[in-house]
């Protein structure tokens, strides 16, 4: 039988397959000595887990801990304020991906900036910057770049095109972040608190599309150095159930390994051309502040010094605000991003903080844990 496009959608969402895996997991889980806590690092997985009600299909000794992997949710106010200030510059058009529309900074969101007269454009693809730059030769186009390894090569490809075409009016404000560094930080910071929280991360569901770019190799250290197994999983509900089944089997067989469930798209090495592009244009920052998690070493990227003429952070450094900004006092996004609390435990969840009027970042993005809980109901 050949593969049809339809298979790639329908068959990985098939209810009977989900049920069959639920049954296998239930049987296997009877052999588990202890409860297993699985952290799904990525907001895309959180969304799938909540949307399809997967926790209800699993035995009580398998728990999810929602991770911080939503680039919008972890964007600190300081960076959004940068975007806001840049958008207010007279001859600047600030361009970013649609996910950033509603994220609140200390002066409001980029949507608010637009209603106050700035020129902010929300695009589907970074490549739209080329068209905007061409249509507005007297303006400076600043691309506010966000995302994990998944979207980093696209920013690099845009810069590559800008250099090759010798375009003089496109600049970059880089906010790309990396997954392994935050996983390391979560393990280190949580292991100190395990007794009080009783939610040690036992296993990770590795983000699908980060590994399409970076390969599964970026997680090698977790089974080896941290005794945490990782299964790289696709985003469809069948993928997630299969990955959970693989995790449970590792536990009952006494293994702790890095495995790939999402074999149709992920290899050990990943997309080497995309990795080359990232290497060519980006360096690691010493520190990058994550909303709710604080500064994490080597977890963010910046343009290499030789591309400083394209770096909006350097060009506009005199007007970009510095200094730390506190998050909203009532919002517990920080604990949620660390997997220390679930959204309903927040006093403003669903009342003062809703997707239509988000106070915390986890409510802003559809991939945020709070937004997923709000939309699909609290299942546990």
């Amino acid at each position: 039988m050949g593969l049809e496009l339809k298979n790639l959608y329908d068959d990985f969402r098939d209810g009977n397959t989900i049920k069959a895996y639920a049954k296998i997991i239930k049987e296997d889980a009877k052999k588990l000595k202890n409860q297993i806590n699985i952290m799904e690092v990525c907001g895309g997985h959180t969304h799938t887990i909540m949307k399809y009600g997967l926790p209800q299909l699993l035995p009580s000794n398998i728990k999810f801990i929602h991770g911080p992997g939503c680039p919008v949710c972890i964007m600190p106010k300081e960076r959004i304020d940068h975007a806001y200030v840049l958008s207010m510059v007279e001859d600047v058009i600030l361009v970013t991906l649609g996910d950033m529309i509603k994220v609140p900074g200390s002066n409001g969101s980029l949507q608010d900036a637009r209603s106050r007269g700035s020129d902010v454009r929300f695009v589907y693809s970074p490549l739209e910057c080329l068209k905007i730059a061409n249509e507005n030769p007297t303006k400076k186009i600043i691309f506010f770049a966000i995302g994990f390894e998944t979207t980093t090569p696209m920013t690099a490809a845009l810069l590559d095109a800008v250099i090759k075409k010798d375009i003089k009016n496109i600049f970059f404000h880089i906010n790309h972040v990396t997954v392994p560094e935050v996983m390391r930080e979560l393990i280190d910071s949580r292991d100190e608190h395990v007794d009080s929280y009783n939610n040690k991360i036992d296993a990770f569901l590795g983000p699908s599309h980060v590994s399409v770019i970076s390969g599964s190799k970026i997680y090698e250290e977790f089974p080896r150095d941290y005794n945490r197994l990782v299964v790289v999983s696709g985003f469809e509900p069948v993928d997630v159930m299969q990955a959970i089944s693989m995790i449970v089997k590792q536990f009952i067989e006494g293994r702790c390994e890095l495995e790939i469930e999402y074999k149709r798209l992920v290899t050990y090495d990943g997309n080497l051309k995309a990795q080359e592009l990232i290497e060519r244009y980006f360096d690691k920052r010493d520190l990058f502040k994550w909303r709710g998690l604080g500064n994490i070493p080597k977890s963010g990227l910046k343009l290499k010094p030789e591309f400083k003429e394209y770096d909006a952070e350097i060009i506009y450094k005199d007007i970009l605000p510095i200094g730390e900004i506190e998050d909203h006092k009532l919002c517990i996004c920080g604990d949620i991003l660390r997997g220390m609390a679930n959204p309903p435990e927040c006093t403003i969840f669903g009342t003062a903080c809703k997707p239509t009027s988000p106070i915390g970042s986890c409510m802003v993005s559809s991939e945020g844990a709070c937004a997923a809980y709000y939309k699909y109901g609290n299942l546990r």
Partner: protein
Amino acid sequence: MCLSIPSKVVKIDKENEVATVDTMGVQREASLSLMSQEDIKIGDYVLLHIGFVMNKIDEAEALDSLEIYKEIIDAMNEEDRQMAILEADECPNRGE
């Protein structure tokens, strides 16, 4: 943010490194600048994300997965049938 979509390649413009892809009946263009030239052919299934082809879908691997799913469903159905037979065997009103 990261939810990319499987699509099928229907046209390739090598010179501009652009593919036309079909996503469930909708056609659009996607950059091939993250792919090696020889990687992508017409008829390939690819993953599309924010205007770029991120990677090619490995058809053999996808079919393998679907085969595994078929097997576990068959096993589940077989088990359910056996259970139903057992339950019927224990039916107290048999023969009445």
